[in-house]
């Protein structure tokens, strides 16, 4: 596993390529899910890259928001001629990074015409409700609490595939307006304000490289696809306990919060009512699940 320089190697088709100075990205296969991962921590980049590759994603990992914008061709005013050939299906970024935070990166992506449709997932080690809300308001698809686990990535992967595999063959973006809350009950981190300051130490190598030889097929179970929504619902065994430990508003319990987009329009998650908000989200989640199960039962009987 190499650590320095370069862009993660991707399996190539002949159709397109993107060059960023000396950091060449190999051409991308149109049918494969391509994820851009952004994290300033080398260890975290390696782990997230592995998590994504094991769930059959192609991964480009970069170490900063600026590199991400550079890769996407958003770092200058004029659009790159190759922009419309760059296929990125998901962007997953750390929140706390020196220079540009994940939130700032999210905003820039959502402001761009070329990439605003691409789902952006934020990762953070801090379970801060105001932070989560801000990101979701800005259009983030999901918010993952670090350390990221395989189950988290598999869940992302499942709704990403659902996005892609429609009968008419076109990609469809999931609706942005309803984001019920899912949580899991690991031990809570102490609620403390996060201090972010520029890292004056040696900067880690800009990009990580994953060797081509490890493009093996994943040994884990196949990616959940839309045709089995019930099994993917039943897999959410962690997602039943609702609580959080935000910075500002006091909460009854202290377990971390994960938010998951279920893609059900008509149930707006966003109600500014302090602690009532989470309760309403929980109810919305249960209702969503109920509707999905009901629909599946109905379809299976016909």
């Amino acid at each position: 596993m190499a650590r320095d320089g370069g862009v993660s190697c991707l399996r190539s088709s002949e159709t397109m390529s993107v060059g960023i100075g000396k950091m060449e990205s190999p051409p991308l296969d149109l049918d494969e899910v391509h994820v851009l991962a952004v994290d300033d921590s080398l260890v975290d980049r390696i782990v997230i890259e592995r998590l994504l590759r094991i769930t059959s994603c192609k991964v480009t990992a970069v170490d900063s928001g600026w590199r991400a914008l550079e890769f996407l061709g958003l770092d200058n005013e004029k659009a790159s001629a190759e922009l419309d050939r760059l296929k990125v299906d998901l962007i997953i970024t750390d929140y706390c990074m020196p220079g540009m935070t994940g939130y700032e990166l999210l905003k820039k992506i959502k402001e761009s015409s070329s990439f605003r449709q691409v789902p952006v997932v934020i990762m953070s080690s801090e379970n801060v409700l105001t932070r989560i809300d801000r990101c979701l308001e800005e259009g983030a698809e999901d918010f993952l609490l670090k350390p990221v686990k395989l189950a988290d990535v598999k869940r992302l992967r499942s709704y990403l595939t659902r996005d892609v595999k429609l009968p008419n063959g076109n990609k469809r973006k999931l609706p942005e307006d309803s984001i019920p809350v899912h949580t899991s009950p690991p031990p809570p981190p102490p609620p403390s304000p996060l201090t972010v300051s520029p890292d004056s130490s040696d900067s880690s190598p800009p990009l990580t490289v994953s060797p081509e030889s490890s493009d093996s097929s994943p040994t884990l179970s196949p990616v959940e696809i839309f045709s089995s929504p019930l099994s993917s619902l039943l897999d959410d065994e962690d997602d039943d306990v609702l609580s959080s430990s935000p910075e500002s508003s006091p909460m009854p319990e202290e377990s971390p919060v994960r938010r998951q987009k279920m893609g059900s329009p008509g149930l707006s998650y966003y109600i500014k009512l302090g602690s009532s908000k989470l309760l309403i989200n929980m109810i919305a989640t249960c209702v969503n699940k109920f509707f999905k199960i009901t629909t599946c039962v109905y379809l299976s009987h016909n």
């Binding site: 921590s41 782990v47 592995r50 395989l150 102490p190 403390s192 201090t195 972010v196 130490s201 490890s214």
Partner: protein
């Protein structure tokens, strides 16, 4: 040969379980093991090796920041502690992560003695983990060399 393999496997199981029980490792380490397969048999060892390099670098940063005669920039120390907390969390280095949480609080309180103590402890702790894991990886090698397979260890 089978008796040797069985003995080594039992030793390996007991040793691994003890690392969890003594708080050196947590669930996230188990998660990392899930990412290892025949195509990437050394994934865990490689990630941990990167982590230990990270430790050396970050501890060096913290030591330098704390060594300023005059005013110590606690936010600078805190930034390195935050990074170490993140990476220790990502690999399942439970004790190191726990120390970082305490360390971070001392940084926020601008508590110099507390920070220096934490720095020393973090240094001891990551080296202890490094030794323990080296022993664990060596046991894995011995099992494979003896013709056996490294067993999946069920922590629960």
């Amino acid at each position: 040969m089978d008796a040797l393999v069985a003995q080594l496997q039992m030793q390996y199981r007991n040793y691994t379980v003890s690392l969890y029980q003594q708080g050196f490792l947590d669930d996230q380490f188990t998660e990392l093991k899930k990412l290892q397969d025949d195509a990437s048999p050394d994934f865990v060892a490689e990630v941990l090796s990167l982590f230990f390099e990270d430790c050396v670098k970050l501890i060096g940063n913290m030591a330098r920041a704390l060594d300023q005669t005059g005013t110590v920039d606690f936010s600078q120390v805190g930034a390195s502690v935050h990074q170490l907390k993140g990476s220790s969390s990502s690999v399942g280095a439970k004790r190191v992560k726990g120390l970082c949480i305490t360390f971070k609080e001392y940084c926020e309180a601008n508590n110099y003695e507390g920070c220096v103590r934490c720095l020393q402890q973090v240094d001891i702790e990551f080296k202890a983990l490094q030794t323990k894991l080296q022993d664990m990886f060596n046991l894995e090698k011995q099992i494979i060399q003896a013709g056996g397979k490294v067993p999946q260890v069920d922590i629960n």
